[in-house]
């Protein structure tokens, strides 16, 4: 009984720690967007367009509360716009727009195309003030050595409002250098759970499109907790490296089951045997690298990756890269980079103790069906 209560207490602690799971600290900034932005209160869908002339608009410092910049007592809609150039877009790496904390709701346009939103605008208002905004910029939208325009529609319910706290900038994930085949970008997504969704011959044409990696809350699934499936069809390039290969899926909130061409290749709980996954409750923060068994990949035709995700609460989904296929050598480097991998599974005695007592299981997730 005593152990059970202690376990509950620890579970409680971890539930708190899962709230702020999107972080920019593992990313490298390539353009800073802090400083002066164009700003107007009000709301007009025309303001999303890159060709809109915002020269008559007010200027405001980002990050910063608008209350402290002449808009004391203002609540409601406002738009921010920023024009910038980028000279060196990393190839083969996802590029993120990080806007830090926005109070309360936002919808972001990159060169006129919506790339993500957080919270809900009225009348069905829901704040997302405590969430760090990190949106994947689809690679076909970003222009090298030319002007790019970001337009951010913000709604503030009351008290402080705006893009209030950094970091703000364009970021890339350095880990992507280790990827031999990049699999980030547009995937198919379906909320719910169905055993049949793992198979290559399942027809997912009716599914919605989702950016990977990015929390599903940013992409129209604001209140969604529970199961969701991601699917991606891909082909290997010709003369793709032979030898032992690994699939990296980055971080997933909270639990995953990964199928390649219909076969189960891994689950977050496999990570404890290798690296990363430290203890129950830390699933969301665990980097996934699964070994691809010899002969499973179809080298000459299409392959189907299906990822079943279970999100207990808060944000959910495949939310942080790198996402792609790595060589064994790079998988080892990746592990070393992030977890001081030295053959010892545990960084400390306490981790060992946690592991010992809280087991190799998913008992924190009462609703998670592990007999799937």
């Amino acid at each position: 009984m005593k152990t059970k209560h202690f376990k509950l207490f620890i579970l409680f602690l971890f539930l708190f720690s899962t709230f702020s799971s999107v972080r920019a600290e593992d990313l490298r900034r390539i353009v800073s967007l802090s400083g002066s932005w164009r700003f107007s209160i009000g709301d007009d869908s025309k303001w999303a367009s890159p060709s809109f002339d915002d020269s008559g608009w007010d200027q405001i410092s980002v990050p910063g509360k608008w209350e402290e910049q002449g808009y004391n007592d203002y609540n409601g809609y406002a738009w921010y716009r920023k024009t910038f150039r980028i000279s060196d877009i990393p190839s083969n790496s996802p590029v993120f727009l990080v806007l830090g904390r926005i109070d309360d709701v936002d919808e972001v346009y990159f060169n006129g195309t919506e790339i993500g939103k957080s919270g809900k605008f009225p009348p069905d208002y829901k704040t997302a003030y405590d969430r760090t905004r990190k949106y994947l910029i689809p690679s076909d939208l970003i222009k090298e050595n030319a002007e790019n325009v970001i337009a951010v529609k913000v709604y503030d319910s009351y008290l402080e409002g705006g893009i209030i706290e950094g970091p703000t900038g364009i970021y890339t994930d350095e880990d992507n250098e280790l990827i031999a085949l990049n699999l980030s970008g547009k995937w198919k997504f379906q909320a719910g759970d169905n055993k049949g969704w793992r198979y290559s011959d399942y027809n997912d044409e009716g599914w919605s499109s989702i950016e990977v990696p990015s929390v599903w809350e940013n992409q129209g699934y604001e209140d969604y907790d529970g199961y969701g499936w991601y699917r991606l069809k891909f082909n290997l390039p010709q003369n793709f490296t032979t030898g032992e290969l690994y699939l990296s899926l980055g971080k997933i909130d909270d639990i995953d089951d990964v199928y390649l061409n219909g076969e189960h290749i891994g689950n977050v709980y496999d990570m404890r045997k290798d690296f990363g996954y430290r203890n129950s409750g830390g699933e969301y923060n665990t980097r996934r690298v699964y070994k691809i068994h010899e002969g499973l990949l179809n080298r000459n035709g299409s392959n189907l990756l299906a990822v079943r995700v279970y999100d207990e609460q808060g944000v959910g989904g495949i939310y942080e890269g790198p996402v792609g296929i790595m060589s064994a050598e790079n998988a080892r480097r990746y592990k070393n980079r992030h977890h001081n991998y030295n053959g010892n599974r545990y960084d400390s005695f306490w981790e060992y103790m946690f592991d010992k007592f809280f087991g190799n299981d998913n008992s924190n997730y009462d609703n998670y069906d592990n007999d799937f």
């Binding site: 107007s40 709301d43 002449g70 808009y71 609540n75 809609y77 009348p123 008290l159």
Partner: protein, 345 residues
């Protein structure tokens, strides 16, 4: 929660700055109303009327306890009346009548229409001798550039009585935004809660009347806390292009949901999903409400209905501070740009 906010804001003019939207810290004296007023002891409902002939009444100094003006020892009802001219140059300002401190209970009329009341007359007598009376004057009651009749009904229970002190006068707000539709006027009001009240065709015939803005405690709903609904019907007259409109609801104590023609357009605070659930309130009462109306919701040159659901967690309640009305988004943006500029200078 915001007891004496008017008083404290006027005192704190300098510390609060003159920038906040509609804060009464912005009030400036336009016309002093101190001096001689017509006066009679007694009580007659006809005395509220602008048509009543008060030339035979005595003249009495305002502000001053009536005990000092020859009515020593008198307790009970009395009336004060005064005719004033309000210049049309004040048409775009929000106008307030400051009647100072009244001992004990009062009801104030302009041109026969009640604009405010503080305290409670017998038989449920309750004094409010230490509250400053600042009443918003609904623009539709004002006869600009002509005579306007003020009538003040007073009840004094004991000791000093009457309009005893204060800076009596007509006051105007600065920085007033020009509303396309001014909704500061009499609204229908009903305590309690029923979501059907948001519907445009809901029958509010039997409801009470209340002035907006103004806390309901001063308007016959003393000590009332909890849910209440406001409803107002108005015609949005326009010949112009369709433009995005903003509905200003001023400040509301504590939480609100605003419906236009039955559709929710904005809300501050979180209402419980099920009846009986605890409502949590914080500083929402300080938030200035400006709700953007979805395109196509307002009917031009036709009747529209606004319904406001309010929850008050305790003490002062209701739509207590203006401005309340509709304006175009363009004007609203200009307004804030102007405020920002003043702030920068």
């Amino acid at each position: 929660m915001v007891r004496n906010i008017f008083l404290s804001l006027i005192i704190c003019l300098s510390t609060l700055g003159g920038k906040m939207f509609g804060r009464d810290g912005n009030l400036v004296l336009l016309q002093s109303l101190e001096g001689r007023w017509q006066f009679s002891i007694g009580m007659n409902e006809d005395w509220t009327s602008p048509k009543f002939n008060d030339t035979s009444w005595e003249l009495i100094r305002v502000p001053s306890p009536w005990e000092d003006e020859g009515y020593n020892g008198y307790n009970g009802y009395a009336f004060y009346r005064k005719k004033i001219t309000i210049s049309s140059k004040y048409k775009d300002r929000m106008l307030y009548l400051n009647m100072g401190y009244i001992d004990d209970v009062d009801e104030v009329y302009l041109n026969g229409k009640k604009i405010g009341s503080t305290g409670s007359f017998p038989p449920n007598y309750s004094t409010a001798y230490n509250a400053e009376r600042i009443y918003y004057i609904p623009v539709e009651f004002i006869n600009f550039d002509g005579p306007n009749q003020i009538a003040v009904k007073v009840y004094d229970s004991e000791q000093e009585g009457g309009i005893v002190s204060g800076d009596i006068g007509l006051y105007g707000g600065k920085n007033t935004v020009t509303l396309d539709v001014n909704l500061q006027s009499a609204w229908k009001f009903q305590p309690g809660d029923d979501l059907r009240r948001k519907e445009p065709d809901f029958d509010d015939e039997g409801w009470g009347e209340i002035f907006v803005p103004g806390k309901w405690e001063n308007q016959g709903y003393r000590d009332y806390d909890g849910y209440a609904w406001y409803r107002k019907s108005f015609v949005y007259k326009t010949t112009g292009e369709t433009e995005k409109m903003v509905l200003l609801m001023g400040k509301i104590n504590d939480l609100d949901q605003v419906y236009v023609n039955g559709t929710l357009v904005g809300s501050t605070g979180t209402f419980p999903k099920r009846p009986g659930e605890k409502v949590s309130t914080g500083d929402q009462y300080l938030a200035f409400r400006g709700y953007y109306i979805p395109d196509g919701l307002l009917k031009k040159n036709e009747k529209n209905i606004i319904a406001v659901r309010v929850f008050d967690s305790g003490r002062d309640g209701g739509i207590y501070e203006g401005p309340v009305g509709l304006l175009t988004q363009t004007k609203y943006i200009d307004y804030w740009r102007k405020i920002k500029k003043e702030d920068d200078e």
